[in-house]
Structures are given as C-alpha cells and as structure tokens.
C-alpha cells in the first residue's frame, strides 16, 4: 500500500470523527436498521474489529521499541529486523484502525443516534479535539519512526529509539483517553447519596473520565495489547517460517517466533490478575454486576473463558516443550524435587489460604511467597533432583488440573434461577466453584509457565540452540496462540459490553431497542469466530504484502539471520 493510500484512509478516519461531532448536534436523527445482523450485532462487529486493529497498533510498538533497543544494546541485528518487520505490518494495520474507527462512528450514529449524541456531548472535548489531535500526532510520529529507520542508523540510532518511546507515549495516552468514555459506559461516575442523573449533569470531564473502571481497564488493555502484539509477532514468524526457502531464513523466523511467543506469554502471565482487578472494580461499583457475570446470564461466557485460557496456557507451554527439544544437551538440565512438589500442592494450599484470607488481604502472601520461593531457597540444600523433562510433565499435569478447577462451575445451568440438585455441585464441594479456588488455579497456570521458562533458560546456558530445527508443528502452535488470543479478546470484549445489561450507559441511559437482552453464548461464539476470521484475513494479507513482496526479499540480508547452532 502506498503512502498516499494510507494517508487517504487516515484522512477518512479523521473526517469521520469530525463529522460525527457535527452530526451529533443534529436533533432527532433517523435510526437506520441493519438487515440480518440487527443494529446491535452490526455495531458489535465493527467495534470489535476496530478494537482488534487498535489493540495491535498500540501493543506492538511497545515491544518493537524494546526489541530495537535490545538490538542496539546487544548489537544483534535480529532484534532490529524483528522490530522493523513488525512495524511494517503495524503501519498497514494503522490504516485499518482508522478505517474501522471511522466506520464504527458512522454505524453508531446511524443505529443509535440519540445515545451517540448524548455520549459525544458528554465527552465533546475528547471526541472533537483531544482524540483527533492525539491521532494526528500518533500518525506523524509513527510514519516518521518508520521512514527514518534506515536513515537514523549508527550514531543516530538512540534518536530513533527515543522517537519510538515518544510513539508509545502518545499511543498510551490515546488509549487512556478513549478508555474514558468506554469505561464511563460501564461505570458512570457517581457520588454516594446523590442521584446519578443529577451528579452527571454537574460532573466535570475529569469526573466522568476518572470513573471506577477507568484505570483497571487502562491497565488491562495495556497488558492485553502487548500479549496480543506478541502473539501476532509469533503469527508473522510462523507464516514467514512456512514460506522460508533457505536455512538462514528458517533460523531467523524460528527465533522471531520464539521471541514473539515469549513476549506474548510474558504479558499473558499478568493478564488474569489485571482481569481480576477490572472485575473486582466492576463488582465494587455495583455488587449486582458480579452475580450477573459469574452466576447468572454471563456465567457460561466465563466457563468458555476458562477453557480458552487453559488452552492458551497449554499451547504456550507446549511451545516451550518443543523449543526445548531443539536444544542440544537439554537432558543434562535437572531441578530440585521441591519444584514439582510445590506445583502439585500449590492449588490445594492456596485455595485454603485464600479461603481464610480472601484477596486483597495481604496475609495470604505470608503463605504464597514462602511456598513459591521454597524450591529456590531450600532446594540448594537438598540433594534430590529430577530431570527437566519430569518437571515439565508434572507442570503439564498441573495445567490440566488448574484448568479443571478454573472451569468447574457451581452448576451446569445458564442462570442461578434454574439451579436444581442434579446440575449443582454438592454443597460440601462448592469451594471448587468459588473465587479462592479459581485464583489458585490461575496462579498455578502462571507458576508452571514461569518454571518452564526458568528451565528453558538453564537449558540454553548448558546446551546449544539449533535455530531453524524446531518441530514444524510449533508453527501451528504459534498460529493457534494468536487465533485463540484474538478469540478470547472477542469473548471478553462482549462480556465487558454486556455487563451494562439493558443500558447503553449503566443505570443512566437505557437501551430501549428490542436487542437489549443478553445473547446466548452460542450466538456470540458465531460472531466472535467470524470477527476473528475477518481480522485474520486482513492481518494475513498485510503480512503477505509487506513481508513477502519482491522488494522485501531484496532487503532480507539487513538482519543477518543467525546461523544454525548460534545461541
């Protein structure tokens, strides 16, 4: 795609923002009606696509600039090449973000004109000035960053890295700004004892932005975007590995896949806790949101989320397993027997602990911290060790157990109102469905993954990585991870919107349309899959045209792919 094409798309996006602000002033605008999907699903599709593109263009630059800095510091051209290739794809997807953003506003205005007008008026300064200005600034910096890549080499590299930092700064501010209206729709600002309607009328812009779920949503999205960007980098590597013609290319893309997965998994480890904080704040805002999510209409969405998280953790650990297989000398790596023992007792001990000292009571750390540090501290003095292979296999067993605990529901019913004894956990075992057990399951998944990376780190110190010789199935694991991460984002995005129940803005602006009910999980799954496939198609196209184009091949040597056998 040429620069002027991209600029045109960007202009379109900006015009849409401006037009929406103007259109919002038109009283009683007529309502459009989407055939087949209905208005709500139409908005859902466009909004989700926009968020996926936006998530990538905000998340990818974070690790791009880190990768560029690592390349500069270590003088390893592979990092620089990775950063540049991901930036190439980011530039294309940036245009798609603008396009879908403009489309989102148009669709929203056509289908829910009264509500959209109301929202824009409440955040007029953001929609009409701050957001467009940030968007323009980000566009200028992104293009400057991309087009100065080759010019600002050598002594000018530090300048280029700082430009990347600036890009991330603007990107993060943009995310935080737009999260204001988004989180406001979930948890509009309120004051104790005051009517919410009256409070909102008098509230300042900052009051509205700085609502209950604003910061938790910012953090959740920030970490989620990095996870997502990492897995997409893994996807890019997998595609390129599959299309590689030479050993050098395969070595490089094997390495890139590993780094992408490492970034994705690294950020993923924090994601369950960020999600927990967001859910905690939502429940704190209005306790009735909690049963709606966990025990009532959306409870099965969370079961599906448990299944997806479990699969993602299984796949990411399987990728480490496959990566270990290509390390010569891995069989020499051993670990204290305490590590698998801690893995096994962790879910039981922490369920009991969190039951006695519920989160956020810091007393539970008195058990958790010594337990996870036990292998490190006491392991030095004990002579018994086991092979890394055994530790990883015990880890897999515990990922399955952790996933089983996470997914065990209180009852096999979509709503508490339909609970009957034949479908309900026996009362003596209801703790399996409560938060202490779910938290311990999440922590077990995280702990096992960290241990696996520690083993990997020891393996590369004692052995030699043969890049490019990884089991081919690993490329499908990378693709699986990206697909599943996107699908889960779609699922949880739907949940975040649906917790508003029959309100556009919770408890403030009712949704009088006939579509304000909770859709079934099956119906949602169809659309989430469709959106994921549509996003995948665009991303795949972007990867192929940017990285597989003839002129790209000509530039291939710039990264000096690592030879087989290099660390």
């Amino acid at each position: 795609m040429k620069t002027w094409h991209r600029s045109l798309l960007m202009l379109f996006g900006l015009l849409a923002v401006g037009a929406s602000a103007a259109y919002a002033q038109v009283p009683n605008a007529p309502v459009g009606e989407f055939p087949y999907t209905g208005n709500r699903t139409a908005v859902w599709i466009v909004a989700q696509l926009h968020i996926l593109f936006a998530g990538f263009i905000l998340g990818a630059p974070i690790f791009v600039v880190i990768s560029e800095w690592l390349g500069y510091r270590k003088q390893d051209p592979r990092y620089d090449r990775l950063a540049k290739e991901v930036t190439k794809v980011t530039v294309i997807l940036y245009s798609m973000t603008a396009l879908t953003g403009g489309l989102f506003i148009f669709v929203l205005l056509a289908t829910y004109p009264q509500f959209t007008t109301w929202l824009i008026n409440h955040f007029f300064l953001i929609f009409a000035l701050i957001y467009p200005l940030l968007f323009i600034a980000e566009t200028i910096v992104l293009y400057t960053y991309f087009y100065t890549w080759d010019a600002w080499k050598g002594p000018k590299k530090a300048r280029h890295i700082w430009l990347g930092v600036l890009l991330n700064l603007i990107g993060t501010i943009t995310l935080f700004v737009i999260d204001g209206p988004t989180s406001f729709m979930n948890t509009p600002a309120k004051a104790e004892g005051a009517s919410i309607v009256e409070f909102i009328q008098a509230a300042t812009l900052w009051d509205k932005v700085n609502n209950y779920s604003w910061m938790p949503l910012n953090l959740h999205r920030l970490v989620g975007n990095v996870t997502f960007g990492g897995f997409i980098a893994g996807l890019i590597a997998a595609y390129m590995y599959m299309g590689s013609k030479t050993e050098d290319e395969r070595s490089y893309y094997d390495w890139m896949g590993f780094v992408g997965n490492l970034i994705g998994v690294g950020a993923l480890l924090g994601l369950p806790f960020m999600g927990y904080v967001l859910a905690y704040e939502l429940c704190d805002y209005d306790a009735s949101i909690c049963p709606y999510m966990m025990a009532d209409q959306l409870s099965m969405f969370f079961e599906m989320q448990g299944a997806m998280i479990g699969l993602i953790f299984l796949a990411s650990n399987y990728y480490i397993w496959l990566s270990m297989k290509r390390i010569e000398g891995v069989e020499r790596v051993r670990m204290t027997v305490l590590t698998p023992l801690v893995m096994v007792v962790l879910p039981i001990v922490m369920t009991i602990t969190w039951d006695k000292f519920p989160v956020p009571d810091p007393a539970s750390l008195g058990v958790l911290v010594p337990l996870v540090l036990l292998p490190v501290i006491l392991g030095r003095f004990l002579p018994w060790t086991v092979s890394s292979r055994t530790v990883i296999k015990v880890g897999f067993l515990m990922v399955v157990v952790g996933n089983a605990i996470w997914m065990t529901p209180h009852g096999f019913v979509p709503t508490g109102a339909k609970l009957v004894p034949e479908l309900e956990l026996p009362s003596a075992y209801t703790m399996l469905a409560l938060m202490p057990a779910k938290n311990s399951a999440a922590f077990t998944l995280v702990f096992v993954t960290i241990v696996n990376y520690i083993i990997y780190n020891r393996a590369i110190k004692q052995g030699t990585i043969v890049w490019g010789k990884i089991d081919f199935v690993s490329q499908f694991v990378l693709i699986f991870l990206a697909f599943s991460a996107i699908w889960t984002m779609g699922l949880m995005g739907a949940v975040r919107s649906l917790v508003r129940k029959y309100f556009h803005t919770y408890n403030l602006v009712p949704d009088f349309s006939a579509e304000s009910f909770t859709p079934t999980l099956a119906y949602s799954a169809w659309w989430i899959t469709g959106i994921t496939l549509a996003f995948y198609a665009v991303v795949s196209f972007a990867i192929i045209i940017t990285l597989r184009a003839p002129d790209s091949k000509a530039h291939a040597p710039e990264g000096h792919p690592a030879p087989a056998g290099a660390k």
């Binding site: 599959m242 590689s244 209409q297």
Partner: protein, 267 residues
C-alpha cells in the same frame, strides 16, 4: 500411545468412581472424565513424533484446514455449554424499562403520535356522526368509539394474592434472589435471608433501605455493609410504585422459623 490411553482410562475410571462415591451429580462425573481425556490427549501430543516441514500449496491448504477446525471447535465448544434463553429476559427488561421509556423523549414522541392519532379518529367519528345526524336525525346514535385513555393509576394492590404476584415479579425482575434467600431459594450469603423481615421492619423502613442501602444494616453483615454490597441504584432503576409494592409485600413476611438478622438503623 496405548500405554497413555490405558493410563487415561484408569485415571478417568478412578475420577468417575470417586465422584460417584462422593455423590457428585452425573454431569460433574462426566466433566471429570472429560478432564482425564484432556490429560491423555495432552500427554499423547507431548511425545508425538515430529512433523516434517511443508510449504507452498500444501501449507496453504494446511492453514485453511487448521482455521476451519479451530472455528468449528470453538463454536461447538461454546454451544455445548448450557445456553441462557433470552426469552427469559425480554419480558423482564420490558417491564423494567417501560416506565422509563414513557418518560423518555422517544416515549413522549410516541405518546404525542398516539394522541394525535386518537384525536384524528375522534374527529373522523364526530364528522361521521354529524353527517349521519344531518341525514337522519331520529336514528342518530353515538356510534363513535371513545379514544383509548391511559391505564388507571394503580396503587398498592389490596388483595394479598395480587400483592404477592406483583411483588414477586418485581423481586424476580430486579434479581433480588441473587443476594437474598427467600423461601429457601436463591441467595449466596451476600445479603440476609428475608423470610422474617416483616417482624422487624415496616414497609416504610424497607422502602428507605431499598432507596438508600446505607439507612439500615443487617446484624452480622457488617463487612457487606461497609463494602456497600447492596447496590445504591434502585432509586434510579426502580419505579417508586414498584418499590412500594415490594416493600409492602416484604413487610408482610413474618416466618419466625427463619433466622432473618435484625436490622440496625444507621441513618
């Protein structure tokens, strides 16, 4: 591979046996067996032989097939979980939002349109009657249907059955059962059991508690009170009349065999 399948069957069998002995419902027994199957699958994949690289058309077909499998698996997986029936919710949403809709601009517009239509019909009928009167005065009779009027203002039902039916519908619509146990159903210990609330609170007190959750605290629910577990939203989302009906009904619940905690006035 065979060894792993046998191992999986043994683990699945043990889980099935143990959960049967512990009186887990059948669906949970099957769920534990499914986890054993997942474990078997995971351990089989771990030791599966390496896959040789492939590229070109074969890779493209492989990728498309992979995406198809993932899509089908995720849609099927999501469809296997119990599905919430939106029909259960639609009537409830309508009942809750109807008063608000009437108050909204949209409601006002619709009301104006309805009134205009009614007036138009009335005008037509008067014109028709005048026409008939002028034609045949002795046979003239008032044939025009009166315009539809609004529903009579309804207060709190005086009949106990009516009150029970209306109040229980409000109880369900507002999902009070999610936190409060009543007649042995609902509640997750977030809020007190309410079967004997009428022994402690008059309707006016219950109304005050619904509209301002900080006005009373149930004994033994200090933590929940401090954490503001009862949402401070009903003054916004509930119709005043519905609050009165619910409060009147709850104030009549005096089942002394249920240990409803004593409310303490805080404001």
């Amino acid at each position: 591979m065979i060894k792993k399948i046998i191992g999986g069957l043994v683990v699945g069998g043990i889980l099935f046996g143990v959960t049967s002995a512990l009186d887990f419902p059948q669906i949970f027994q099957l769920m534990f067996v499914a986890y054993a199957v997942l474990g078997t699958l995971v351990f089989s994949i771990l030791d599966a032989p390496s896959v040789a690289p492939f590229s070109g058309l074969k890779a493209v077909i492989g990728l498309l097939a992979f995406y198809l499998v993932l899509s089908v698996a995720y849609i099927t997986g999501a469809s296997l979980w119990p599905q919430y029936d939106p029909e259960d919710e639609k009537g409830k949403i309508n009942r809750i939002l109807e008063p608000k809709r009437k108050l909204s601009e949209q409601g006002k517009t619709e009301e104006l349109l309805a009134r205009a239509k009614g007036l138009e019909e009335q005008a037509k009928s008067i014109a028709e009657r005048l026409k008939n009167l002028s034609k045949d005065l002795p046979d003239a009779s008032g044939g025009a249907a009166p315009a539809a009027g609004g529903a009579p203002a309804a207060g709190i039902p005086t009949d106990a059955k009516d009150l029970e039916a209306r109040a229980f519908a409000i109880w369900q619509d507002q999902e009070c059962y999610n936190c409060h146990k009543l007649r042995g159903e609902g509640g997750k210990k977030r809020g007190p059991e309410l079967d004997n609330i009428g022994s402690y609170m008059a309707a006016a007190d219950i109304t005050a508690k619904i509209l301002d959750p900080k006005s009373f605290m149930a004994e033994g629910f200090e933590k929940e009170y401090e954490k503001k577990k009862m949402p401070d939203k009903y003054k916004e989302v509930m119709d005043d009349k519905d609050v009165d009906i619910l409060a009147a009904w709850l104030s009549g619940l005096k089942n002394t065999s249920v240990p409803t905690p004593k409310p303490i006035k805080k404001k």
